[in-house]
């Protein structure tokens, strides 16, 4: 049985951590995989730390990534990198704002999707599948800006 892929997305309330994990879960779901996504709601709108886990594969059990077993750690705020580093598996990949040229980001609120662009190169889903998932999870007026951010990340 192929192993489960585990992704931890972290940041601060208001940065779009949960939206990013929604998009990752959606792309895996549309590919027909078993998917689990976990997060803690409640305090997220008050500016505190937020993390969300997405796991997919043939069969996923726990909705939470065991500590030190994340294949990918996507962090939206540089000051949240060290706090979350322990989530990463040995040899796992850290994706952080420094991975892209954020000056080229026309809308700072699309940083979450830009980092998904970076992530997308390392996963097997097609760029079209990613765009479809982004379109499904965001209102239409935000599509253009987010497709652009995704492309920026994907080309970085």
């Amino acid at each position: 049985m192929p192993r489960t892929t585990s992704i931890v997305i972290a940041g601060l309330g208001g940065q779009g951590v949960l939206k990013a994990s929604d998009i990752v879960a959606e792309v895996a779901f549309r590919a027909g995989l078993d998917v689990k996504k976990s997060e803690i709601h409640g305090m997220s709108q008050r500016g505190g730390s937020v993390t969300s886990d997405v796991r997919f594969g043939d069969r996923v059990f726990s909705p939470m990534t065991p500590e030190g077993e994340a294949d990918f750690l996507v962090v939206l705020a540089e000051d949240q990198v060290e706090v979350n580093r322990a989530a990463l598996a040995p040899g796992g990949v850290l994706i952080e704002p420094a991975c892209i040229d954020t000056r080229k980001l026309r809308n700072k609120k699309t940083l979450n999707v830009a980092l998904l662009g970076v992530l997308s190169r390392r996963l097997e889903f097609s760029a079209d599948a990613w765009r479809a998932a982004i379109a499904a999870k965001l209102p239409e007026k935000l599509h253009e800006a987010n497709f652009e951010a995704f492309e920026l990340g994907r080309q970085s």
């Binding site: 998917v35 996504k37 909705p63």
Partner: protein
């Protein structure tokens, strides 16, 4: 209203419950917002169901009982501590039984992501004598909601659907149709006085009927209950329930596992048979040793987890530690950034004033609980919904005068409607000699749980207009003379002076600090514009 998803969908446990309730034709969903249960009724509304917020969980359950006494289907939702508020009707509706279906969701919060305690409500199901189902993912949340309706109607008994934060908020794949929806029944009232009127003479036989029903349900659970069995190796057998099952399957893929979906009344026969077939039987459950004690009372030879794992959520890592017998101290997770009152939040002005005046603050449950954290640290007590007023009064009664006159009760708008009304009545009925001050922080929404309406907003769950509870009218109707309504953000200095004057007056006083929550303000303006447009 959106279409309910058909076929294969990625849903949270909360959404899955709502979808099942909608597909089963549940006539009414009611409850009080509380993390992690809030999204159930919101999703039920979005799927086209009739959903409404009640002032509190007790009223919600009572409304649900009325629905189910009339032969219809009711879904009543709340967080774990809400079931304490609703415990009074719960314990007796177990005796009366119901004609339709009554499904009560208790969303427990092990680890306290957003709660004041981590009570394990499996014990409340046992104490009240109601059947309980424990889903382990969204598919089971969907299936067990339908099963709960079926069990409730078949035996005429309320059923507790006990969820936990990870089941409520995790999104997992749901295949529908799953468990078949029970066919609808006609709704009509049938008079049955001895079953419904719990005077002692009728309640005594009703208690016996309840125990007889539970015995029948226990036998059914042994034969046909929703039990998951994984036949692994015989060295280790794990008895588990709820989301712990997922962690167990991942941490111990070779082990034999038995997971009863209905844990009250538990299928002890199946549990005994399972335990006898393995060399070592270990009960791995989140929270209290509920299943372990159930097993041991039945004479089953089983081990539990070390006491240190009673606290907090289980995870794959913690289950591995338990399996390895590791009781060394657990590494503390790195501290993230704590939540804080939003910049510009009207509560900030209030807590700045209370800090400046060196008040002893009897606090309550809501966003404003964050007033306890730096830079304010202006909260001295927080126990449960509505407790700000009673606790503040108790302190006023006994503290030396110098301290007593610094005591302030602080309570939010939704919390006040939930359980502050009787506290205010107490203040008028048993006034402390030095008077008292109650601050009602009215931000026009139930902010902490995600901007839900409540009776004080004058809008229903779907934001349409309805009767409005007016805080100041209520306070004045009790004969309280010092009732002030003010927007604290307009002049923070004047607000602080007003608090100071009230504290020094020795009178009973209520200040309603009214300013819409920043996060809700735009939406509230939109609802109000819609209402005005309708009036034209």
């Amino acid at each position: 209203m959106s279409e309910a998803p058909a076929g294969r969908a990625l849903l949270s446990g909360d959404e899955a419950v709502a979808l099942a309730a909608r597909q089963a034709g549940v006539q009414l969903g009611t409850g009080y917002p509380g993390t992690p249960s809030t999204e159930i009724l919101e999703a039920f509304h979005h799927y086209g169901g009739r959903a409404q917020w009640a002032p509190n969980e007790k009223v919600a359950l009572e409304v649900g009982i009325g629905v189910a006494f009339s032969g219809a289907r009711a879904l009543v939702t709340m967080k774990h501590v809400g079931l304490n508020v609703a415990a009074d009707p719960l314990f007796t509706v177990a005796y009366t039984g119901v004609s339709g279906a009554l499904v009560i969701v208790s969303a427990d919060d092990p680890g306290m992501a957003s709660s004041q305690n981590e009570q394990d409500n499996r014990r409340l199901a046992a104490a009240a004598g109601v059947p309980m189902l424990e889903p382990a993912d969204s598919q089971e949340a969907y299936d067990f909601t339908l099963l709960a309706i079926e069990v409730s109607e078949r035996w005429g008994i309320p059923v507790l659907l006990r969820m936990t934060t990870r089941v409520c908020h995790s999104m997992t794949v749901v295949q529908t149709p799953g468990y078949p929806a029970p066919p609808p029944k006609p709704v009509r009232y049938e008079r049955d006085i001895p079953s419904r009127v719990m005077i002692p003479a009728y309640a005594r036989p009703a208690h016996r009927r309840l125990r007889a029903k539970l015995a029948e349900i226990a036998a059914w659970n042994e034969r046909e209950g929703p039990i998951a069995l994984v036949e692994g190796n015989r060295k280790l057998g794990i008895l588990t329930s709820g989301v712990a099952y997922q962690h167990v399957r991942e941490a111990a893929p070779e082990a034999s596992v038995l997971k009863p979906g209905m844990t009250h009344p538990a299928p002890v026969g199946r549990m005994r048979e399972f335990a006898a077939g393995v060399e070592r039987c270990l009960v791995l459950e989140e929270g209290d040793p509920y299943l372990l004690e159930t097993a041991r009372v039945a004479g089953i030879d089983a081990d539990g987890k070390p006491e240190m794992y009673r606290f907090g959520e289980l995870t794959v890592g913690r289950v591995r530690r338990i399996l390895a017998g590791d009781t060394t101290p657990e590494p503390r997770p790195a501290a993230g950034k704590p939540p804080a009152l939003c910049q510009g939040c009207p509560h900030r002005v209030v807590f700045t004033a209370l800090k400046n005046l060196d008040c002893i603050v009897s606090g309550d449950i809501g966003c404003y609980s964050l007033g306890v954290l730096p830079p304010f640290e202006a909260m001295d007590t927080l126990v449960c919904m509505g407790a700000a007023i009673g606790i503040g009064l108790g302190m006023r009664h006994v503290l030396p005068a110098g301290q007593a006159r610094r005591v302030v009760s602080v309570i939010g708008d939704s919390t006040f409607v939930h359980s502050g009304l009787t506290g205010l009545v107490e203040m008028v009925y048993n006034p402390p000699p030095g008077g008292h001050l109650v601050l009602i922080l009215d931000n026009g929404t139930t902010a902490m749980t995600g901007m839900q309406e409540h009776p004080g907003t004058g809008r229903r769950l779907d934001h349409s207009r309805t009767g409005k509870f007016v805080f100041e009218d209520f306070a004045r109707s009790l004969g309280i003379r010092e009732v002030h309504v003010t927007d604290p953000t307009l002049d923070p200095g004047a607000f602080q002076d007003l608090v100071k004057r009230c504290l020094e007056s020795g009178e009973l006083a209520v200040i309603i600090a009214r300013r819409n929550c920043l996060l809700a303000a735009a939406a509230i303006r939109e609802y109000e514009q819609c209402e005005n447009a309708t009036d034209d």
